[in-house]
Each structure stands twice: as C-alpha cells, then as structure tokens.
Amino acid sequence: MSSQDLKERAERARGKRAPFGPDLDLSLYKSNPREFPPLPLTSLGKEEQRALLATGIDPFEGNRSGSYLQMNRSVVFCGTRAEGLEILSTEEALKRYDWLEREYWWKALEVDEDKYTSFVELNWQRGYFIRALPGARIVRPVQACLFLAEESVAQAVHNIIIVEPGAELHVVTGCLVAPAVKSGLHIGVSEFYVKRGGRLSFTMIHNWGEEVAVRPRTATIVEEGGVFLSNYVCLSPVKSLQMYPTTYLRGKGSVALYNNLLLAMPGSSLDVGGRVFLEAPGSRAEIRTRAITKGGELWTRGHLIGMVPGVRAHLECQGLILSPSGLIRAIPELEGRVPDVQLSHEASIGKIAKEEIEYLMTRGLTEEEAKAIIVRGFMRIREEALPQELQRLIEEAIKASTKYLL
C-alpha cells in the first residue's frame, strides 16, 4: 500500500472512536511541540534523570546494550553498544531501508483501526526502530524512552522492533512526563516482529501524570518457534489509559506471554487488555494480570482465539481492592474456532484476606507492615522467564509505587 493510500485511510478514520476507553478530544493537545537538540543522556537535569530511573531508563546506560531517548518529537539520544543491534529513529530507518515500509510499516496494525492510529499516521513524530540481526543474542536490555517534555503536548510515535531469526532481544521502554508537566497525550503505534526462533522480551514501565491520556496501539507477529514476552507495569497515576495489544502466533510452536501489573489511583481510569490469535499448531499463550485499585477504575480484558487444533492458552486476572471505592472489572473472552483447542481462564477480585494479615502480625509485623508485604507479594510478576536486570527494574517500580499504596 502506498503512503498516499495510508494517508487516505487515516483521513477517513480521523473521527473513528475506539471500542474501549473514554473518547478523547485530540484537538485539545498541541501536535507541534518544541524541538530539542541531541544531547548526551547524562546532561539531563537531576530531576529528569530521577524520573527516567523510575521507569527503568538509566542515564548512565549501566548494563544496557543501547539507548533511545525521544523528547516530544525530537530524537535526543540514540546509540548502540552491542554487536548485531541496530537502534535508529523510525524516520532514519525508513530512509535507510526500503524494505521497512514494504514489509513492516502498518503490517501488524491497521492504520484505520481507530482515531488514534489515524492520528499517528497523520501527525507522525518518529519513534524507535530496534533490530536484532540474525542470530544476535543481545542479553543486556536495550532501553527506549518516550518523554513528554511540555505541557499539553500530543506525542504520536510509530515504533518498530524486529527480532531476526534466532536472535534474542530484551527491550525496556519507559514512558513518562517531565516532572513539571501535568497534562498531555501519548499515542504510540508499535509493531513488533519476532522471526523464526527469535526471542523478544518487551518490558514497558509507565510513569505518567494525573492529567495524561495514553493510547498505545501495539501488535506483534511471531513466527515459528519464536517467543514474545510482554511485561507491562503502570503503578502511578494516569488520567486515562486504554490499550489492547494483540499478538498473532503465526508460526508452529510460537509463544506469547503477557504479564500486566496495574494500579488505579483515585481519578485514574485504566482499560488494559491482551489478545492473542493462536494461528499455528503447538502455539501457546498466557495472559496474566494483577490489578489493584486505590479508588480508580480498572478494566482488564483478555481475548484468546484458538484458530487451529492443538493450541493452548490461559488467561488469568487477579484483582485487589484496597479502598472503599474503586472498580475492577475483569472481562475474559475465550474463542475456540475448531475442536481440540485448550483455552482456560480464571479470575478473582477481592480485598486482602484478613487471615493473611493476622498471620504476618503473629510474626511480629504491624498491621500496616503486613498489608504492605501482602500487596508487594501480590504484585510480583512470575520471575522465571525474565532476565535478572528486568526483574530488578520491575521490583524497583513496585518499590517506588509504595507511596501510592499505603
């Protein structure tokens, strides 16, 4: 499809509401924000550095294979420190590789899916391109950061990750607003491709503001024997977040695992789903969500679609209500289109069990200490599949959220 066709389709979808989440008035945000010159990560202000660290982005690039930092629409820093790894802005990458537009650009997502995908196409402001070359095992994480640096700005990025055959890549993305910024809009279109035997872990830690609206649009295509692991962590206030990332397991024996860790503070509305199409024999998927409300609203959705025999998938949501008000609504959908698919789900929502609190109190803890330990335990994502550094980052995010939880 030509870029002209894409633009026309995007134009037609300009007002197309998304099926989920509050409808946003996109005209309220500036889509021509201030530009920033390139600069070393370490030259950022102290407060900004602290904010980056809270989302897993290390300004000193310790234990990282490479970094990408975009402020508003400007690529401020972009560099790789590992063999077999490419990091560019998508603008640069499209200039460099003619196959990118042909084979990957709007190939996992539809440009006219809703007004948000349309907005990104019509107001495109770069985004990251990260590629692990065939067979490259990039063990240390790549960090990518999308930073809203100005009040009431709309950030509309289009990201691409390609894990070539047999390669391994771990990406941690931190999305945040500058410490002084209260409101803004972030729309990120992300298309990920995990080729035959490839392995991608994608850990996204969000740290937005109380008046920020967020609409990520993500889709992943996994080929034979490929593994896609997604960890999404949002444990700080956000006004409105809605996302429903989708994975297509196209290759035999391919795997998708989602872990979501969500906290809704008073005034926050989070609507987070996960959808997996199991299209090839032997493919399997799991979506796990831990959701906590302290007074905000939380929808957790999941949709597993078994399209061929011999696939299995599981959906799990556990919700914890920590305040007298607040809402958690878990909506699981299982869809079997042929016999011999194994799809299951389980969900539970409740408060902290009193017997658990009392049990820990008999070990010498106060009631508040006991509750904090139980909530922290509740949030811990299954650890075995994650590299230690990513696990550490998630632990840090959990620790940083303690101030909201108690």
Partner: protein, 248 residues
C-alpha cells in the same frame, strides 16, 4: 509465673467460645492441651495472641506480669509469645526465606535452620503455597524457631503428618524448647515454655509435657498428668471429661 489466665471468657461473633478458663504456665513448663473438635482449644490460642475476632469478655491474660488486654498482636509477639498455626494461610509473592528473616530480625542463620528441618528447597518458594501438610508444619516450626519465643503456642503440630515427619517435627520442638541441651548450653540458655494442642498425643513421645489439661465445651474440665489424661481419653473418650466436669 510466665502466663496467668484468670476467669477468661471469650466471644467470637457474639457467641461464647470460652468461659471460666483458668490456666497458669510457669517458666520452662510444657503443657499439653487436649479436647474434642470445637472445644475451644484454638480459640484459646487466638485469644492469647490477641486476634481481632476473639473478644475477651471477662477475665484477664497476664504474660510476664503484663496484662495483655488491648495489646496488639505484634507487641505480644515482641514480648515473647509465638504461635504455630494449625492451618496457616498461603502468602503469594512472599518467599519463606523473607518471612524467616522477619521472624528472626536477621539474627539467625536461615540456611542452617532450614537444613535441620529438611526445608532448604522451600526457602525460595511462596510461603505455604502448594505445601503438603508435613511441609506446612515444618515451615511453621521453622518460623517459630526463628522467633525464639519464651512461650510457644503449638496448635496440633503433628496433625495430618506421617510418622517420619512427626519425628522430625517432634525433635525440632524438643530443641526449640531447650530440651536435650548439654549442661554447658543450659548455663546460657533458658528452657522455653509451651502449650501444645494434640489430638493423638504422638508428639508427647518427643516432648515430655509436665502438665495436661482437657478443654471441653469452652472450659478446662480437668488437669493432671498428660499421659494419664491421654490414657483416659483413649479408653473412655471425652464423655468421661464431661462427667468429671459435672462432678466439680
């Protein structure tokens, strides 16, 4: 006296579960507590610990000379009371190792303690999650050993456990309570006190209790030598305790 319970009456959800309970436990004493299901044995432990649902309506619980009424659970623990749960809950996301660190305040060698109870493989598992009956009891024992309480309240440490595990747990309790110490050790360590709830009495093969009591219908029906009480219960059942109660 370490623990003095006087004329105690306890309610749970408006229903009286204990009444006229009198019990004294001296330093270093081990007491066995028998009684049929629903007699109030666990309720007595819960009241001593200060659990919220167990309301003291009458009487008092004095520990180390301090009246425990109104004292929060954790303060009772810090004062030296430890509870071994019969049915402990699982805590997801909290490793047994971390809980043991909390119990001992970083003062014990956790690996060593765990190896003595064959629990090293469980240290990095979620507390009680997927544990068998025997594993759960060994985990409870580990915690209480890490706490080193002056008074251990042991709620059916041998129930639902095979003979091999009973031996392991029995020996662990024996050590916890400071029995079987060398003369040199006795100079530096005091013997601990305990109340042990037991249905079967198997645990008494490993831990010699000095005194025994039968709790029946919410009150202590009789007291005496543990082995004699156990023998009577085995022969005549708890009905004999009821007759005894009617006589007094």
């Amino acid at each position: 006296m370490l623990l003095q319970i006087r004329d105690l009456a306890v309610e749970v959800a408006g229903k009286e579960v204990l009444h006229d309970v009198n019990l004294e436990v001296g330093p270093g004493e081990i007491h066995a507590l028998f009684g049929p299901n629903g007699a109030g044995k666990t309720s007595l432990f819960m009241a001593i610990m200060g659990m919220e649902d167990y309301k003291v309506r009458k009487g008092s619980i004095i520990f180390k000379g301090r009246d425990l009424s109104g004292m929060p659970v954790y303060e009772r623990v810090r004062l030296g009371i430890g509870l071994f749960f019969q049915r402990p809950p699982a805590i997801r996301g909290l490793k047994l190792r971390e809980l043991l660190e909390i119990c001992c305040g970083g003062k014990s060698n956790i690996e060593k303690l765990a190896s003595e109870l064959a629990m090293v493989d469980f240290l990095d598992r979620d507390v009680n999650y997927g544990f068998s009956g025997g594993e759960m009891r060994r985990a409870e024992l580990l915690q209480i050993i890490a706490q080193q309480p002056d008074l251990a309240l042991l709620d059916e440490p041998e129930s639902g456990v095979d003979l091999e595990n009973i031996a392991l747990i029995g020996k662990g309790i024996h050590r916890l309570l400071g029995r079987g110490m060398s003369c040199k050790e006795k100079e530096s360590k005091a013997q601990r006190s305990a109340i042990i709830i037991s249905h079967t009495g198997y645990i008494l093969d490993y831990v010699e209790a000095e005194k025994g009591h039968v709790l029946y219908n919410g009150t202590i029906a009789c007291s005496g030598k543990p082995r004699e009480i156990l023998e009577t219960i085995r022969k005549y059942g708890y009905e004999e305790c009821m007759r005894c109660l009617l006589r007094t």
